[in-house]
Symmetry: C2
Subunit: 198 residues, 2 copies
Amino acid sequence: MRPKNLEKEEAIRTIALQIIAEEGLENLTMQKLAKAANISPRTIYIKYRDKEDLLIKLFIEEVLEPYEKAVLENFHAGMDFATGIKKLWQNSFRYLSRNRTHFALLRNGKTSPLLNKAYQQANIEQGQYFKPIQQFFKQQEKQGMIRNFHQDIYSALLFAPLLELVSEYFDYTERPRQIITEKVILDCCETVIRGMLK
Amino acid sequence: MRPKNLEKEEAIRTIALQIIAEEGLENLTMQKLAKAANISPRTIYIKYRDKEDLLIKLFIEEVLEPYEKAVLENFHAGMDFATGIKKLWQNSFRYLSRNRTHFALLRNGKTSPLLNKAYQQANIEQGQYFKPIQQFFKQQEKQGMIRNFHQDIYSALLFAPLLELVSEYFDYTERPRQIITEKVILDCCETVIRGMLK
DNA sequence: GCAAAGTAAGTAAATGTTTGTTTACTTATA
DNA sequence: TATAAGTAAACAAACATTTACTTACTTTGC
């Protein structure tokens, strides 16, 4: 039996992410992808059931899970509040700023009904993503370190600005000077933390 | 000469926004839209050059500009920091929570290359959107009220959480109890303000 | 050891369907 | 009656997916 060519599978994923980042999710077509990856359209269907299957696997396996892993590196639910949040911001910024195409697809997770549904489902089936962060919030709340909010509200207040800053980071790569540096990220992080402390 | 039927033009816009909100931007087709609006596809082309033209006008004229107007209502660049930010949050939350379909398209402004490009261009041609907010930040900075950041960074820190909270507001309309109330929004706003003050 | 059979991976080209848009015609009002 | 608004049906192009075939590797029988 002829063995699978893993390079081709990787080319499919990498080039799909590139097309999405450059032309948007709505402009990714199977035939365009095949041509760009220098393979036959049929080859994509050997590795993925259909386009939905490809997009969902790309989103969950190629982007969301590696991102989660990167964000949680050296993070523990027992950390003190400021240290923990700073670690999460730093991990997140480093990963996303170095993986432009991953960030581009990640952003589509909220607007694309297909990806959003896939995320909700995987979140239930695989166990919650970013679980240690939820535990971290619970502990901080119990210790009386931070103001009392619902879990989902903590995420909005503490992480939405970071993703917006990453977005601006990429906007500024096309301009003369980058304003979003790791130092700026840390300053912003401290600003966000200060608001949240009791 | 037969006069334009303005109801039909409005139906096109309203129903396009509905389809986008329920099925996503990528699932809006001209034929689906015509059928849902009970008109011939040709009628859409009397009012819009092509699909791009429709989407861009929908985004800029139907969503972005009314949103800007609502956000800036009773806001002045001379307000003190906390009062100004609270007014912006309140205006924004009221408008978006009552206009689900507008919010849905607004979110696509970042991920869709077509809409993003249209926004950049309109921002230059029409004069900057949300200009009073930029002036407000400049004044606050000059008065030494807030920490020194680039203009774009203020937006990220002060408004990204709000849009995320609106997103959660709509997620929670499908659950037993709404957690994002106007009071919660105000609490969150104060948290964000506190972090930003010197 | 080794060749030939077996098999899934892979290709080029075609399939039917859906898409944005237009054609040829009808309708309603100034 | 003149004319733009509007319709139903059709158009070509683009789309996801499949068909019919070839390729390259593993396994098996000697």
